[in-house]
Amino acid sequence: MIQDLLKPSGKAILLGNEAIIRGALESGLQFVSTYPGTPASEIGNSFYKIAKQANVYFEFSTNEKVAMEATIGASFSGLKCLVAMKNFGLNVASDSLLPFFYTGSKGPTVILVADDPSCHSSAQSEENSRGFSYLGHIPTLEPSDAQECKDFTKLAFGLSNKFKIPVMVRLTTRVAHQKMPVVLGNLPKTKNLLGKFVRNQKRFVTMPPRVLEMHQELLEKMVAMANFSSKSLMNKVIGAMGKEKAGVITSGVAFSHTMEAVEIVGVKPTILKLGMFYPLPEDKIKKFIKPLKKVLIAEELDPYLEKEIERIAKSVNPKLQIFGKNVLPEVGELNPDNVAVGLAKLFGKVYAPKVIKSIKKLKHLPRFCTGWPTCPYWKLYAAVKQAAPEGTVFGGDIGCYMIAALPPHSLYDYLFSMGSGMGIGHGVKKATKQKVIAFVGDGTFLHSGIPALMNSVYNKSGVLLIILDNSITAMTGHQVNPGMGKNSCGEEIAPVKIENIVKALNVKNIAILDQEEEYNQLVATIKEFVNSGETSVIIARHICGLLEKRQNKK
């Protein structure tokens, strides 16, 4: 738990995300930047509480790309850095992510990314960030449990230091959001947070023709790292080969499920547990698969490992029978049961537990808070439904207000990624004669909504944007944002006024209304603005009910 993060030694129950923090602190972390997103949110939330005491610089940056750039700058200045985000955040950051592997890091740097197979708390896609490992030649470690979250973070800092390259640690929900007893190491006693930027154009300026040399250097680093990986204990063999000559190659939480499945099915495969996903320990894999007759590749989502192992097997063991996505799902997360099904098939057995079927597939849908506290969005969406002309196209965005896509509202006609409600709405408006109302929360507007609004004004599309200003980043757990008058260090700052931004973008129709107090006026204004043909903005301002309740308690 969070109170154990600064415990001097011993053992503590830590969440996977907390174990990442502890590993970073034990490594002498100096600088952290992040943008909240589940399943990585607790990293920022915890640092927000402990950064001062732990003597690290911490910030919630305005979006993931900016968070990445903050860390790049601090790394270039020699500090030990951690930057954390969820999978979609890595997409946002990717423009600055890729060149970072060309320049390499100066201060050792770890990039933490958390994927969410089964989309427990993610809407837009079942993204597998391992694809980025190939795209950017990103050294990637995959812890399987909370203890490894801590250990691998330390290893990642070590690797980054040795090879002068950032290292990615990739989690999935069941690793990030699991708890277990973690053995704590020592925390460094004193730490200076002051770095120095030393000019080195050859290293930090990516311009042709130098950039091509950098590409070559990156590929050479990957060869060296693959050799290192083959020798590293991060990649280890568990259990001797039995008479069936059957093996399993696995990584991340799928390893834990595999160990469970081995007991459930009652078989004894030899297991190669890969801690390093990229670059792969090819020599170790060759040695492992050479004597095998058959192998199961237990990995979540896309068959990246499976394809690599098919390739490697061609040279060392072309007759190897490879089981992978033919026995395991490619959509949705793995669990002990589906791995057990695959493992049983590897051994020519059947695993079918006697489950009593439920009479109903029961699902409570998330909804806006009711009772006390009451969510201000109830009134807002009622007003929208009352005011919007028949046939209006409604654009959703990312935040608590995604819930309006679900019954009883069933409102949105499309819902994509952070800040896209307005961007896509502009396209619809330009392509049709239909009316468009797009929605965005205050946090998301500040994250990535501004360029889309500017575009709508600049290219004259006439979308009505309703900015839901509840004064907080609510969904991911009430993090501070620039609109709140308080920054990540707890300092009072002048709050960014959304209306000032909107005005500066030359939006003509602007209204600020409180849906709880000015409901009728809100209905009238929506009607007026949506029929005006101009790009318009209504800021619907009412504090988040949860936040209000919390403030009243204090």
Binding site: P39, M180, I356, P366, G477
Partner: protein, 192 residues
């Protein structure tokens, strides 16, 4: 077969499932056991279906309970008991809160839920825990703790009340102790 003790807690977001998980795991931790838990955060918190797993014993690998291997299912909302069914077998004890929050479409009745679960196990206990907590303690957030106390009374958990109390004191601020201690022993007092 593995001898770990497996608990599944089902309910809806906001019912305090994670605090309950923390208390149980801390109590198991204090006994020197290995533990793994799995929980869900984020959007599902807002009144949606949530289930968490707690596993403890000598050595725990997966944070998720395998099918049919739950020893105890606590359902903080009675329809949510159905989401625990895949983890149930003869050996499973169900403690179900006779409390309902609406779902889309047709709701299932408590009797339907009970009958469904009894196909897996006879050990099904249903009580209006929420109602009792509201009446006796004027608080619904501790309903999980009351159910935990009840499970201990029934011998359905290999942890003692004292061990749970110790764990609560270690993880909760002192101002919440009294309420939670009362909740933990609430159902026993009712019987007497």
């Amino acid at each position: 077969m593995n001898k770990n003790f497996n608990i599944v807690i089902t309910g809806v977001g906001g019912q305090g499932l994670i605090t309950l998980l923390d208390v149980i795991s801390k109590a198991a931790f204090n006994k020197g056991l290995d533990i793994k838990t799995s929980e869900l955060h984020g959007l599902s918190q807002r009144g949606g279906s949530v289930s968490v797993c707690i596993r403890f014993g000598k050595k725990v690998y997966s944070p998720m309970v395998p099918k049919t291997q739950a020893n105890l299912v606590l359902a903080l909302e009675f329809q949510e008991a159905l989401n625990g069914l895949e983890f149930a077998s003869k050996k499973t004890t169900f403690v179900i809160n006779n409390y309902q929050t609406p779902t889309l479409g047709e709701s299932v009745s408590l009797r339907q839920v009970e009958n469904n679960i009894k196909l897996a196990t006879d050990k099904v206990f249903v009580m209006p825990f929420s109602e009792i907590c509201t009446k006796e303690l004027d608080n619904q957030v501790v309903v999980g703790v009351a159910m935990l106390g009840f499970a201990i009374e029934k011998g359905a958990l290999p942890l003692s009340k004292e061990e749970i109390i110790q764990a609560m004191k270690e993880i909760m601020p002192e101002k919440f102790w009294e309420l939670n201690l009362k909740a933990l022993s609430l159902i026993k007092e009712q019987k007497e």
